[in-house]
Amino acid sequence: MQWLPYVVAYAGIAVFLIAVIARFFMWARMPIHVRWELYPVAHDAKRARYGGSYFEESKWWTKPREVSLLGELKVMVPEILFLVALKEHNPKLWIRSLPFHFGLYLVVACTVLMLGTGVLGALSTSLLEGGFGTLLRGLIVATGAAGMCLAILGALGLLQRRLTEPGMSTFASGADLFNLVFFVVAFGVALVNFLLFDRDFSQTTSFTAGLVTGDFAAFSGAGGEAFLAVLTVVLLSVLVAYIPLTHMSHFVGKYFAYHAIRWNDKPLLRGDKGEAEVNKMLGQKVSWSAPHIKGEGKKTWVDVATEEFKKK
């Protein structure tokens, strides 16, 4: 049965990856839509700082459109790392949400470091000796412990806010509360495991390395210690699989919310390739039933849009 936690972990990771990839492709493959941008648009190199656009120039279509990746990064990086929009518009939630999200980032960093340790160890154990190995192990403990603590604190804060803030409590569903409790429980069990048995993350690192190397070693220690380690793996694996199946998958959607909608200011000029895509959409048959349309699944968008009203 020593392979059981490995199977659960693989399954959790597999579900996560499949769900994230599926979501990514779902958003990426959606049909063209009309423009619906909101300013400031971060990639407008000259004007993003005050919310301007290329429409500020006379005969804008004759001028080159400057798109700045750096401009996007200047907004995206602080937004992802520090949730600056929330800080600006909802500081009471931000002081709870920031530790939660930052805690998750640290846990992800810890996991990456453990996987790296596994790969390096598989290549040669000598790579993990000396100062570099000590630094790596120290970083794993620091990011892992801090990440779990912050995520738990943040989740508890968010739970408190969701239960007590009138606007949030009346809108909360059972799942909204469960999600936060799930984080608290999963990271709570992992934290207890760390505090009681795995203070140097050696067990967890060895397990994570085993996922890479295929060395499915059993958790060491007495019954309680091994049980807590397995429970930690199972809970975190289920959590990893669960996240992208819920609205918490907004980390995928958010990319499209910004790039495909909010910042999508790319004009469609005459002769552009996108015209064919628009024409394809205009050839779709509409079934809207109101008297002024009566599409009935027979008329195309072109048909209904060019119908003449009876003139007076």
Partner: protein
């Protein structure tokens, strides 16, 4: 304050779910700072309450209460059918991705609430949270269309009251999208209000009369939502030319149907009817700058409005095509949009991915053309003629939704003494809606205009008053609100009248071109008529 306790209240009981009393509201700045002196929202008549579905103090749509079980079911089933179509590529490719994004990812964090001027000015009435109507439509979608668990998405009862009140509630949002701007995830609750309007219009045929029958339908039947046909509009513009020439001393002749002109200027025809000095000022400036331009008397092309933007993609496309066809027929090089915010967004942004091929005529804002006129030096301005306090309203459609922020400010800089200009706070992309957005400025049935002044227009009035604090607040010291958008101008006109702000505080309003002509060296002084509203 009467307000719903929970979104589930939407399907319960009879009568209004909320009421906003004047003492629930935040006092305005001086000299309007005494709540007890403010006019109250006139109550709905008993007859209206008996006949129509109500959700709050007013009625925008006027959905008759169903009389039979069949009528009740028709409302519910019609809404569900329409909502289903909203998620079909064929029926709703236009907004499918933005819609799905906003349906899937709302964290119900309520971050957007305080960005909403209506929620704020209502004294934080639950009904006006930007998330209130969105949460209802999300729950309906997940429970009744996707058959998802209510444990995950929340529960809601769907009956005729839910549907009728939800449609009414979709007309309690200006669609200014200020809420969307604050969402950390990118959810757009204003879009959901628009999609509810779309379901009601495109599937159920339920729309406020002012924006459909008297709006887009009239435009597509007669040529203009004002009811003007091509003969009448030409007559009116001829009169405007004469009147403007008399006021400025500069003879002008508005050109019509000039083939191959550089510019086809599209006015909101409401300007021709309600603010003739605006098209007159445009003609004066364009002529003085030596531009090659024309108006079109082609069907629907002398009225740049496109009310479909607010509620109906099909009506939107029909009008946009008419505008583009007229431009193509004349063979103009570009369409320039006059001072009309929703016309800007309609033809420049939204129609960008609707019109193709020969209908793809470049579209530009009048603000940039006016800025070019200033830069060219072909028209001389004397700033001292505008020696009065001026503040600038940023129309949402032009600024937050198109990013045109500086050209209008550069123009003001050229025609108004620097020390006389006061920015509103906040301004630019973070501006507040005038309160007339999404059709409200032309909706005044029953007591809707009262509700509009107290809830939607109050924040803008507050901003205007704040901008002018420190000035003498009387009629002897006139102050100018520059509102370069017909819809916004209509709303600001109405609120000035409602609060008697000209008589009590000397606050008047107008467009951008009026300020320019008022400062034109070659024109007789005094183009702005302060006493005329």
């Amino acid at each position: 304050m009467k307000q719903p306790k929970n979104v589930k209240d939407i399907s319960q009981g009879d009568g209004p779910l909320s009421a906003v009393e004047i003492h629930d509201q935040i006092p305005l700045p001086p000299p309007f700072d005494k709540l007890e002196d403010e006019p109250a929202i006139r109550p709905l008549t008993q007859d209206a309450r008996d006949k129509f579905v109500v959700v709050d103090d007013t009625i925008a749509v006027g959905i008759p209460k169903p009389k039979t079980k069949e009528e009740e079911e028709k409302l519910v089933n019609g809404f569900l059918d329409g909502l289903r179509k909203c998620f079909s590529v064929a029926d709703n490719w236009t907004f499918l991705q933005p819609l799905m994004m906003s349906m899937e990812h709302c964290a119900k964090c309520q971050t957007c609430n305080e960005a909403c001027h209506i929620y704020e000015e209502s004294g934080h009435n639950e009904l006006y949270r930007p998330t209130f109507r969105s949460e209802i439509v999300r729950r309906i979608y997940h429970k009744y269309i996707k058959k998802h668990s209510t444990w995950v998405h929340g529960d809601i009862d769907l009956n005729w009251k839910t549907v009728a009140r939800l449609i009414e509630l979709a007309y309690r949002c200006n669609l200014c999208r200020r809420c969307a701007q604050t969402c950390p995830i990118g959810v757009d609750n204003a879009l959901l209000a628009r999609e509810i309007r779309k379901v009601a219009s495109q599937e159920m045929g339920i729309v406020p009369r002012e924006i459909h029958d008297d709006g887009s339908v009239l435009q597509l039947k007669v040529g203009s939502s004002t009811g003007m046909n091509d003969i009448v509009v030409k007559d009116n513009v001829e009169f405007i030319d004469e009147d403007t020439a008399e006021r400025t001393g500069i003879p002008i002749k508005t050109p019509w149907d000039v083939e191959g002109a550089d510019i086809l200027l599209l006015h909101n025809a409401g300007e021709i009817m309600a603010w003739p000095e605006n098209p007159g000022a445009f003609a004066t400036l364009f002529q003085a700058a030596g531009l090659s331009w024309t108006l079109s008397s082609d069907f629907a092309a002398y009225d740049g409005i496109n009310y479909g933007v607010w509620y109906d993609d099909v009506q939107f496309a029909r009008v946009a095509i008419k505008h583009a066809q007229a431009a193509a027929r004349l063979g103009v090089k570009r369409i320039v949009l006059g001072e009309c915010g929703h016309a800007h967004k309609a033809l420049t942004v939204i129609a960008d991915k609707v019109l193709t091929g020969g209908l793809k005529i470049p579209v530009e804002s009048a603000f940039t053309v006016l800025h070019e006129i200033v830069k060219s030096g072909k028209v001389k301005f004397d700033k001292s003629r505008n020696d009065f306090p001026v503040t600038l309203h940023d129309p949402c459609n032009v600024v937050r939704l198109m990013g045109i922020v500086t050209p209008q400010r550069e123009v003001i800089k050229a025609v108004v003494p620097e020390h006389r200009f006061r920015e509103m706070a906040p301004h630019g992309c973070e501006n507040y809606c005038c309160g007339g957005g999404s059709g409200f400025a032309i909706m005044s049935g029953r007591n809707f205009s009262d509700w509009r002044h107290h809830l939607t227009g109050r924040r803008k009035f507050r901003q205007i008053l704040e901008a002018f604090q420190g000035e003498e607040m009387d009629k002897e010291h006139p102050k100018y609100v520059c509102a370069p958008c017909s819809n916004c101008k209509g709303q600001i006109r109405d609120i000035i009248k409602y609060y008697d702000a000209w008589e009590k505080a000397g606050i008047s309003y107008g467009g951008l071109v009026e300020l320019m002509v008022n400062a034109m060296v070659d024109a007789k002084p005094g183009f702005i008529d302060w006493e005329w509203h």
